[in-house]
């Protein structure tokens, strides 16, 4: 182990502290605002710690905006999209990882290219297509879009996980006369389970957080998801409305934070496994 000079260490701790402040302070301010009564929000000298913390903002947020229904819509969209995405992505990832044929190459190319296209170029034709199918302002339409747009990342991750599975087991299954599909379902898929769960959870967060597609495709408040409803909240804000806005925003973040905390290690590992080997 190399020795590091004491002055260097001190500088390092100072820099780390600066990073911690930069990363944390906006979030702390959000929480602080969420628990402040209206009177304190209007005060000229806002404080970090609410003097009279209150839950009033949360009650008011639920009264003023259809947060529960929006959260329900978000939950339905994100849950369905993430489940469908991993169910259809896993077999494809298996083929992409194990067979170097034209379809695999084209799929890998698509994964890369789909990252570079501005959504505006996709959303206009998607809007027209979904309109013809009468799927505008419908959660079903949104779910279809979310499934396809979580596929690049899901495929990327899953291909990495498949590559980590040794091929011997599949070869043994093939010797026993198992078909490709059978081998995949009963030999490979069970080994991938942890990776599949992590990928599904990531797809869930992506859909739960998504704003642009939902903004364009959902027209009425009854159908809109949480981020769109939160956005409607903005703009009308007098100082007194900041509290409920912060409270709602804080609540909307909790599911993503919790899930992300669970899967963080696995995701970052998988992301790079895919990157190094692709």
């Amino acid at each position: 182990m190399m020795r590091t000079k004491k002055s260097t260490r001190t500088a390092q701790y100072a820099a780390l502290a600066a990073y911690l402040v930069f990363l944390a302070f906006p979030f702390l301010w959000l929480i602080s605002t969420a628990f402040k009564p209206a009177r304190e929000l209007g005060s000229l000298n806002p404080t970090w710690i609410p003097e009279n913390p209150t839950l009033e903002n949360f009650r008011q947020a639920f009264d003023e905006q259809p947060l529960l229904r929006a959260a329900g819509n978000s939950l339905v969209a994100a849950l369905s999209a993430s489940l469908i995405a991993v169910v259809i992505a896993t077999p494809m990832a298996y083929v992409m990882a194990r067979h170097r044929n034209r379809v695999s190459k084209a799929a890998t190319g698509w994964v890369v290219i789909s990252q570079a296209f501005p959504f505006v170029l996709i959303i206009i034709p998607l809007f027209l297509i979904l309109k013809n199918l009468h799927l505008i302002n419908s959660l079903l339409g949104l779910i279809m879009v979310y499934v396809v747009w979580s596929l690049p990342f899901a495929l990327w991750m899953l291909v990495g996980y498949v590559r980590a599975v040794p091929t011997e087991l599949e070869e043994a299954a093939a010797v026993d006369g198992a078909s490709k599909v059978r081998t995949f379902v009963s030999v490979v898929a069970p080994l991938l389970a942890p990776g599949i769960v992590a990928t599904a959870m990531f797809a869930f967060i992506t859909a739960w957080n998504e704003f642009f597609f939902a903004l364009v495709l959902l027209k009425t408040p009854e159908k809109q998801t949480l981020p769109v409803i939160l956005n409607r909240f903005i703009g009308t804000e007098g100082v007194a409305d900041l509290g409920p806005l912060a409270a709602a925003a804080f609540l909307a973040t909790i599911p993503s934070l919790v899930i992300f905390a669970i899967i963080q290690k696995r995701i970052t590992g998988g992301m790079l496994a895919g990157a190094v080997k692709a």
């Binding site: 301010w29 596929l151 490709k180 905390a261």
Partner: protein, 307 residues
């Protein structure tokens, strides 16, 4: 012996290949069909739309108008203003994002206490909905109830600045948010690269009396360079195409000072209903990004060959 294994292997390969076709198609189709209908199809359709006069809610049939949209676009100064802002935003976010993330990754790679806290905090911007990030920073920047103005006035640095609606501060203010929001991914990617750097090389270089900067240049940087290149290229694309953050923060205001190309095209398409024209904007954005990235990657790769 070699011959025997070779024949065995090729025989196995052939049978595997025959077995693949049906089975593999069966495994691929459930994902392939949605991709073709909802991604590849729309991409091509979008490019075709750019050459038509497609509009929303019009009764006459859409017509083929050749490159007219692109000609109009060439003279659309508002669009080019927006494009310039988009480039300032994309570089302004990507470059500091990279250096700040590199600094943080180098720190987290040291045996410091509190590392776990930094890692935990780094999750927050990554996991948060972009709309919430926008709302959160609106609270920070709020002219009256915001913590930034409060801190500034406590430090005697002036007061009452309206960060997001002032014409001179708005773009800088949203860039800071962009840097904050994108730092975690970059940090995590770089950190993983650092952890793959062979420790022995570092120690050998230190033994030879190489200072910290020299060790970074000769040992660390070559090891993380591929990841650094990939993540900066991706960040640039993502930043140039970003929408939600700035939409929530400023809606493109004040007076278009933060109107990124995505916001411009969105308004063109869904406020004014000019589908064809907006699609043309999308095409121009793709083209310009591709050119910039091609130069960047070719330049970097050449640099790698020479050194």
């Amino acid at each position: 012996m070699t011959l025997a294994t070779a024949t065995k292997r090729s025989a196995k390969g052939a049978s595997a290949r025959r077995g693949t076709d049906h089975g593999a198609w069966f495994l691929v189709l459930p994902a392939l069909i949605p991709i073709l209908i909802l991604s590849v199809g729309p991409l091509l359709y979008g490019i075709v739309l750019a050459f038509t006069d497609s509009q929303s809610g019009r009764t006459e049939p859409t017509q083929w108008i050749g490159a007219l949209n692109f000609q109009d676009l060439l003279h659309d100064t508002l669009f080019w203003d927006s494009f310039r802002i988009g480039l300032i935003w994309a570089f302004g976010v990507t470059v500091p994002q990279f250096f700040l993330a590199l600094g943080l990754a180098l720190l987290l790679n040291q045996p410091l206490r509190m590392r776990w806290l930094a890692r935990a905090l780094a999750i927050i911007p990554w996991a948060m909905p972009e709309v919430v990030v926008g709302i959160m920073w609106r609270l920070v920047y709020h002219p009256d109830a915001g913590v930034l103005n409060e801190t500034m006035s406590d430090l005697g640095l002036g007061e009452g600045t309206d960060w997001l609606t002032g014409t001179s501060t708005a773009l800088l203010a949203v860039i800071v948010v962009g840097v904050w929001a994108g730092m975690p991914q970059t940090t995590v990617a770089l950190l993983a690269g650092l952890q793959n750097t062979p420790r022995e090389l570092h120690e050998a270089a230190a033994m030879d009396g190489a200072g910290a900067w020299r060790r970074f240049r000769t040992v660390t940087w070559p090891a993380i360079k591929p990841i650094a290149l990939a993540i900066t290229a991706l960040n640039f694309i993502w930043n140039f195409n970003s929408f939600a953050l700035v939409y929530v923060l400023t809606q493109g205001g004040p007076g278009g000072r933060t109107r990124l190309p995505m916001l411009f095209a969105y308004e063109e398409a869904f406020r004014y209903g000019q589908f064809g024209y907006a699609a043309a904007m999308g095409c121009v954005m793709v083209a310009v990004i591709s050119v910039i990235l091609a130069f960047y990657l070719v330049g970097r790769l050449k640099g790698a060959d020479e050194s």
